[in-house]
């Protein structure tokens, strides 16, 4: 028998090299380390363009529909429906519960419309951070939403799993579905259940409804460039959220942060937190060593805590698990000295701190 030399063909050599490359990449964790392929970059750019176009379309396209809002709270998934209609530049959500006109935002209360936002942004603030710093995107044909063809944009955290799934209406460019996920589970979602054709919505232009007028006494937020004591506005919260702008409010300040896709606000007020005045739906937790009350609301996760005479309320569109790193960026309570502790003990009956 003549021994047969085992000579690898060029094809098998290439396959072996590919297997070796994948194996080395898998073992060294290159994908997790954020290596960005040309295809990834292409999807990132396409996703950024789609999201930007969706914001513009929302201001320029007439539509009418019903939106299903879901959110997880207390281990249960809750669901509500609200109407949404854009007509002649007026966005009406929830049967005129929330109304947007240009940069102004109104909320209807029992005594009338209150001006929630006067449209002042960007004058003194920083631009939103690039969305591709924290997320990688995949763009692909999506499922039908309210009977309409969509393009799906999946946002995956660079250091984690899928953060959001978004559906863009192929015809109008409007965002028709948005799901926020936490560890694979839907945390909050906004999905159009029905969506009228633009021509039908345009026919309603003749009756957009009276524009709201704010009731007297509502003081809109005012952008500020310097934050005075006792308030603080760190330029970064955790490793992902950057300070965009700070606003002076009637009582305290509001610091607005973003990671490019998800935003949060930290409201600060001077004073001692009246714990018994807080809504009862929250749960008492320890966040980064601070005693805090957490709420899961349709609008986001909320944490309330107090440190040395400043009451902080963080409203985050992100996950409740992220709140710990956010809270940690703010000061801890200082440790009282021995003399202070002694005096507090003596003056305890008078509740002098």
């Amino acid at each position: 028998m003549t021994p047969v030399a085992r000579v690898a063909s060029p094809v098998s050599r290439a396959a072996g090299f590919l297997v070796l490359t994948v194996a080395v990449a898998w073992l060294t964790g290159l994908p997790a380390a954020g290596a960005v392929s040309a295809a990834d970059r292409h999807d990132d750019q396409a996703a950024v363009a789609l999201l930007r176009a969706a914001r513009a379309a929302a201001a320029a396209t007439d539509f009418a529909g019903v939106v299903v809002v879901e959110w997880r709270s207390g281990g249960q998934l809750h669901r509500e429906r609200v109407t949404a209609r854009e007509s002649a530049g007026v966005l009406d959500v929830g049967g005129r519960r929330m109304v947007a006109v240009g940069g102004r935002r109104f909320v209807r209360e029992a005594r009338g419309f209150e001006l929630l936002w006067a449209g002042e942004t960007g004058g003194s603030g920083r631009p939103l951070p690039p969305v591709t710093t924290r997320y990688r995107f995949t763009v692909r044909p999506g499922m039908s939403v309210a009977g309409r063809a969509t393009t799906e944009v999946v946002a995956r955290r660079v250091h984690g799993g899928v953060a959001e799934r978004l559906a863009i209406d192929a015809q109008t460019g409007l965002l028709v579905a948005r799901e926020e996920l936490d560890a694979g589970h839907v945390l909050r979602s906004v999905v159009f259940e029905s969506f009228s054709d633009p021509p039908h919505a345009a026919s309603e232009r003749a009756r957009p409804g009276a524009l709201p007028e704010a009731t007297a006494g509502t003081l809109p937020a005012r952008p500020i460039t310097r934050v005075g004591a006792p308030y603080r506005a760190p330029t970064r919260l955790g490793r992902d959220f950057s300070l965009v702008e700070v606003y002076r409010r009637a009582e305290g300040i509001q610091a607005f942060y973003s990671d490019g896709l998800v935003a949060l606000s930290v409201f600060e007020r001077s004073g001692e937190l009246a714990w018994d005045s807080l809504p009862r739906d929250g749960r008492l937790v320890d966040l980064a060593g601070r005693r805090a009350v957490l709420y899961d609301t349709p609008g986001g996760a909320v944490a309330v805590w107090e440190v040395d005479g400043v009451v902080y309320t963080c409203v985050s569109e992100g996950t409740a698990s992220e709140l710990g790193t956010i809270v940690a960026a703010f000061p801890r309570a200082r440790t009282p000295s021995m003399l202070e502790r002694a005096v507090r003990f003596v003056t305890g009956p008078l509740r002098w701190r």
Partner: protein, 159 residues
């Protein structure tokens, strides 16, 4: 006749449960028999409620450091040394003077902080309004429907 004068101390001790059986019975008998005693007890109760309802007050910034610094700068001598210095003319007097000074400063600072300075106010953060306000701000720079729809649902936090 002094027994007919309502005794605030006795009533206060009675309310605190600090009297023995005989004293408690005596005060109870007075309260049952005399409207004036009952009126005084009502005043004592009201005063206590007012004190307990006082807002917590923060010491003024730097008070603790000032008091600690004052105490630290006051020469404190061990007992043996104090006896020795007491033998020196004026030593004990100087020590007593320093203690009086520290005590006076502490009392004056405490009274000043408690009486003159404004107390820390109680803050009730409007959680629901903050959620709406954040959504309003976010909807200006982000896609508006997905921001405003969640805060338009008919769900309210329970008070």
């Amino acid at each position: 006749m002094t027994e007919d004068v309502p005794g605030q101390d006795a009533i206060s001790a009675y309310l605190d449960g600090e009297l023995d059986d005989r004293e408690r019975d005596a005060v109870a008998a007075r309260l049952a028999a005399t409207a004036e005693w009952r009126a005084v007890m009502a005043e004592v109760r009201e005063a206590r409620a007012l004190v307990r309802a006082l807002p917590a007050r923060d010491a003024p910034p730097g008070l603790w450091r000032f008091l600690e610094g004052t105490l630290a700068s006051t020469p404190v001598q061990p007992v043996g040394a104090a006896r020795t210095s007491a033998a020196r003319p004026g030593g004990s007097r100087a020590r007593r003077g320093a203690v009086r000074t520290v005590a006076a400063v502490a009392v004056a600072a405490a009274i000043g902080a408690f009486v003159l300075l404004p107390g820390r106010s109680s803050t009730r953060p409007p959680v629901a309004t903050f959620v709406e306000t954040h959504a309003a701000r976010s909807s200006v720079s982000e896609e508006p429907v997905s921001q405003l729809a969640p805060v338009a649902v008919p769900v309210r936090l329970r008070r």
